[in-house]
């Protein structure tokens, strides 16, 4: 039995929060929204809340998807939580563990070798892993009106990075050379994390936890210079392609904030063709301006969509 597809137009932010648009796409026949009717956003929200999980498990067309979701759920249960970022002791421990492991791995794999770039590379890995952990573990704002809470959470996250770095600077005098750049790194983290979390609430209409999607995209983008380096090399002399590839990586943004030509550090030079090609980094101010514009655009679009009436249509019996 196939359930009718309910088209929701225009998509509004609150309906795609944390993948909740999915149940709306598969409303049962006994949905209160038979035919086409105009409802207010509050009604739509209550419908979503009312139908969220039960419909998912009852949807016969999505048995496989349910199993996957249940498996994921089990994983999170093992790690102490049904949904990440919703409280508990592991809430603090998991991101710290992730960041610590990333630093340890980077050291072990010689991404951070001894040398003049050591402090900048350490800070780069620290900032990038904090950003990545933020995507995974910070709860995205459920609504633009709650953006203030989200912003506060991101700010606290950034301040934690600053605190960790200051602790490192006390322990390791070499890290002190980075201190003047720390405000710029923290600002970069704030902008990137805000953008990522906004995208988390906006990006997906098909996944139950959009953070995992955004985290996947983030990881792919971060590693872009490594896994797409050969493509640039084989495409010959294409500065635009090279610059796009380099510029699209969030690692580049952090590196620019740190005044670090990371593609020419030992590990990247050995593992990516880009270090030996011609490329130019954008300036930090260009990145910052771009992020501010995109973030403002996303927030405005979300607010605008939220204020519009919502139409939910379904096939007639």
């Amino acid at each position: 039995m196939r359930f009718p597809y309910d088209l929701v137009s225009p998509p509004s932010l609150h309906r795609i929060v944390a993948g909740r648009i999915w149940p709306l796409q598969a409303l049962p026949r006994q949905s209160p929204c038979s035919g086409t009717q105009r409802i207010c956003t509050g009604e739509a929200r209550s419908i979503e809340r009312a139908f969220a999980l039960p419909i998912r498990t009852e949807n016969p067309d999505n048995t496989a998807g349910d199993k996957i979701r249940q498996r994921k759920s089990t994983i999170w249960k093992i790690s102490g939580k049904r949904r990440i970022g919703s409280g508990g002791a592991y809430r603090e421990m998991l991101p710290i563990t992730l960041i610590f492991l990333t630093l340890l791995m980077s050291k072990f794999l010689f991404v951070i070798p001894e040398g003049p770039a050591y402090p900048a590379l350490s800070t780069l890995v620290l900032a990038a892993s904090t950003w990545f952990a933020g995507i995974l573990f910070l709860p995205p704002a459920d609504h633009p009106r709650q953006a203030g809470h989200g912003t506060l959470a991101v700010l606290i996250w950034c301040l934690k990075l600053v605190f960790v770095f200051l602790a490192l600077a006390v322990l390791d005098p070499a890290s002190r050379s980075i201190l003047p750049l720390l405000p710029r790194v923290a600002a970069t983290l704030f902008l990137l994390l805000s953008l990522s979390l906004l995208l988390t609430t906006r990006i997906t209409a098909r996944f139950t936890d959009s953070r995992q999607v955004v985290a996947g995209i983030a990881a792919a983008l971060a590693a872009l210079p490594v896994w797409l380096g050969p493509l640039v090399e084989f495409s010959g002399n294409a500065p635009l392609l090279t610059n796009t590839l380099v510029g699209a990586s969030p690692i580049t943004v952090f590196a620019v904030a740190l005044d670090l030509d990371y593609l020419r550090t030992t590990w990247f030079y050995a593992h990516s063709a880009l270090g030996s090609l011609r490329y130019d980094y954008l300036s930090w101010s260009a990145y910052a301006t771009g992020f501010v514009i995109v973030i403002a655009g996303l927030v405005l679009a979300a607010l605008r969509a939220d204020n519009r009436p919502v139409f939910i249509s379904s096939e007639k019996e």
Binding site: P116, A117, E233, D259, D261, R264, S276
Partner: protein
Amino acid sequence: MKHKILPFVLFSLLLSAVSTGLLADSNGMDPEIRSKAKRAVDAGLHYLRTHQQENGSLSNSVGVTALGLRAFLQSHRGYKESDGAFITRPIQFLLEHVNDDGSISETNQNRNYNTAVCMTALAATNNDRYAEVLAGARNFLKGLQIDEGDGYESDHAYYGGIGYGGDERPDLSNAYMALEGLRASATDPDDPVWKKALIFVSRSQNRSESNDQEWAANDGGFTYMPGFSPNGGTASYGGMTSAGLLSLLFAGVDKEDPRVQAAYDWIRANYTLEYNPGSEGGTQGLYYYYNVFAKAMSAYGADMVVDSDGTAHNWRNEIATKLMDLQNDDGSWVNPDSPRWWEGNKDLVTAWSVIALNAAIN
């Protein structure tokens, strides 16, 4: 009788002088190849001249512009600033990119390369007007050198090295370029920069007698940096071995020094102009290799290179012939097989090739 013999002797002497001159030039190069090479240089310079942009640059890059300028100034034409805008405009472009820290660069990347090649080009003008710029650039390059000021003691593998200038690791390629710039700008031979650089250069050589690094092998060749070669492990390869040889000579090491001889022996043992010996696929950094090989052989002062099979090679004739074969119809050169190290950029590769030909011709 005496009157009959004298004209004959004089005629014989004249004939032998002419024939010697026709068969081999003063530097051992075949006159016919030399003449063709000069035409190839002219074609290359024509390409560079027609590809100069409004602002006098090549590829909007300080480094490429400086290399192009050097190609003009050191060519057999002996161009000078008085010859016109095609010389003065690139100079102006370089001067516009002199930064407060003394570097000459349009970007934060490649600051060492850019500054070093600018120094070589500006020094080639023989114009005292640029002495101040050169002094500032010299101080900048010396500041890039890794030493005690950066917290490194002389036993560290990076000590004395110079990198790209973006806070990253040093390498022999950057070090050799910097040393070339410092040498061209008449840096005091007693300056500590040479001694420190020598430590780094020696640590990049696969010669355990003069390299205290554990990985050091004994083929006499050079690797990219202590403990790393882009061709895997710490393998020696052509481009870096010529760069290493040149660096040793720039730093004032005698030609008979065992380190120089070991490097020269590696070049003899691996002599080829068909590919960059020891590099991945042989095509990566090919023109870099031609450029630095010609300069190294010219600085070493050998007209003939006898390879390990006992075959004598007139390197000037051979590199000129090779480069002429590879030249495009429009006078340019480019590496079609690998864009690494900017060898997909015609302006850069043409400038490198012309400089290599200049080294062979002059």
